[in-house]
Amino acid sequence: MEALRVKDLCKDFGGVQAVRNVCLSVAVGEHLAIIGPNGAGKTTFFNVISGQLAASAGQVYLFGKDITHLAVYQRAHLGMARSFQHTSVFPTLTVFENILLALQATQRHRSNMFHSATAYEYLNAKASELLSSMDIWKNKDDKVNSISYGEQRKLEIAMSLSSEPKLLLMDEPSTGLTTTESAEIVKLIRNLSTDIAVILVAHDMDLVFGVAERIVVLHYGEIIAEGTPEEISANSKVKEIYMGDKKAGHWK
């Protein structure tokens, strides 16, 4: 079954076509990486899928449902979650409050006004599990603006996992992380439940080749190559874009 299908998607900014006629389909549980040079339209593509930007043309389907015109928050309830390239958390709240906000977002009690936000034991347990898996449980009472950037990244990822999404969009998850931490992210994505589809945008090739089952290469908003990591690393057009020279040889 398809988790996500994108049909003839376009996004214009005035005269600039950031995304041009992109067609793409991601199966349930599949790990797909989108790569491409800076300005290729990767993040714009993400923003259109997640609803931050409206599509200029084309459709987006999530599990067969047309979500092209749904609001951002509605997509979250259909099982879509996203982590951001620039850490997007709640800086003056504590780590625990951050994860709690992410957890209660898809719960019915999120509008409750008379219970304590921290009295929902099943959420607290879930929060502890998520934060521990990211190794930031020790920071739970620290304000987010006082923890390190690497820890904030981990929180960001923990938050995007907290709604138990079926489709996870990750924009540069390893930015600002050390090689070891980045390797942890690879492990984490690999260990995700098999029914979660992941779309990853990244420049970090270790990450891309570590997790992706399929790679799509975007260039000037168009898909110019698509295939398994082996096929992509052997693709001459991709080499040309990245290295600017056909004879550049093996670029990985």
């Binding site: 609001a71 958390v89 977002a105 219970h115 929902y120 099943y122 959420l123």
Partner: protein, 333 residues
């Protein structure tokens, strides 16, 4: 999907005492001290409590949701005028009825103005609420048939509670206001600690992230705006009994800015901070007003500038830091 009901563990009595001791001490002070004070100070205390409710209601949208409003006096004014008009012109002296109507109309005003104001955010929200607040002010000023315009509506009575043996006077009115204040404080306290309250803080910090997490942020802001109008309406119901009626000036920018100042000096985003803000500002206004009545706005401006420079986070931040240093021994963050 995971589900479950909230569970409250019995807390260690020491821990509970520690957490609530400041509130208990504060409220006992507010309940007992006025008995021994001269009437004019007691009258000031009444004003402090009413403006505390008013400023706390503003803090729900200003401090918790991050929406700076400069039209908050509209809700106070709508409720205040409703009560005064019904009481003075129509002679309805059932307090519960007129209070309910006053609060209802304040909520209705918030529900209508909220739709317009929440199209904007940040500084634009400030401007839109300012404009809408002035609109309500002009209604109070120009609709002579309803509000008697500039002349205002004097009110010489205290609420008729309809309870046998209890007739409010300036002394007992304080305790009535105090009761309302306690109820409002705990309701607002609960709301700010609830999942809804946490959601508001998330919106203040990072609205687009909240949307991505699955929150319909507009709806939360709208509900917060209405709740804020509700509590401002409660303050508005009490206000004319304290001030002896309503004049259009009660609705103008000064009253809104006054509440904003109370919040900022007290500590934005801390409910109880507003109480300290009200105490400081209202006592200062009284004493300085005695010495130099025409200089008060100037001095208020200076206080504001000094507070912004030297009192980051308001009085509340400094008091809680002091409290932790005294009783926990270490200061975190």
């Amino acid at each position: 999907m995971i589900t479950g009901r909230p569970i409250y563990h019995r807390k260690d009595s020491n821990e509970l005492l520690f957490r609530f001791a400041p509130y208990i001490i504060g409220f006992l002070l507010l309940a007992i001290v006025p008995i021994f004070l001269p009437a004019y100070v007691q009258n000031l205390m009444t004003k402090i409590l009413i403006f505390s409710i008013f400023a706390m209601s503003l803090d729900i949208i200003l401090g918790y949701t991050g929406l700076p409003s400069l039209g908050h006096a509209a809700f106070l004014g709508v409720a205040g005028y409703t009560v005064t008009i019904l009481l003075v012109i129509h002679g309805i002296d059932n307090f519960y009825l007129i209070a309910a109507l006053g609060i209802f109309l304040a909520v209705l005003t918030a529900a209508i103005l909220g739709v317009l104001a929440l199209r904007a955010s940040g500084i634009f929200f400030l401007l839109v609420t300012f404009a809408l607040g002035m609109l309500i002010y002009s209604i109070a000023l120009k609709f002579n048939w309803l509000t008697r315009g500039q002349q205002g509506l004097p009110l010489g009575a205290y609420p008729n509670l309809g309870l046998p043996g209890i007739e409010l006077n300036s002394f007992t009115f304080y305790f009535f206001v105090f009761l309302v204040f306690i109820v409002c404080f705990f309701l607002m306290y609960r709301i700010t600690k609830s999942p809804f309250g946490l959601t508001l803080q998330g919106i203040r910090e990072n609205e687009s992230r909240m949307r991505m997490l699955g929150y319909n942020t507009w709806r939360y802001k709208y509900i917060a705006f209405i709740i804020s109008g509700l509590f401002a309406g409660i303050a508005g119901v009490l206000f004319p009994f304290y001030s002896g009626g309503m004049v259009p000036q009660n609705l103008d920018i000064n009253t809104s800015a006054y509440a904003l100042l109370i919040c900022i000096i007290g500590g934005v985003g801390t409910l109880w901070g507003s109480i300290f803000g009200a105490v400081v500002l209202i006592f200062l206004e009284f004493f300085i007003g005695n010495f130099a009545p025409y200089r008060w706005p100037l001095i208020l401006g200076i206080i504001f500038v000094l507070a912004v420079i030297f009192l980051r986070g308001g009085i509340a931040a400094h008091i809680s830091r002091l409290w932790r240093r005294l009783f926990i021994g270490s200061v975190k963050s």
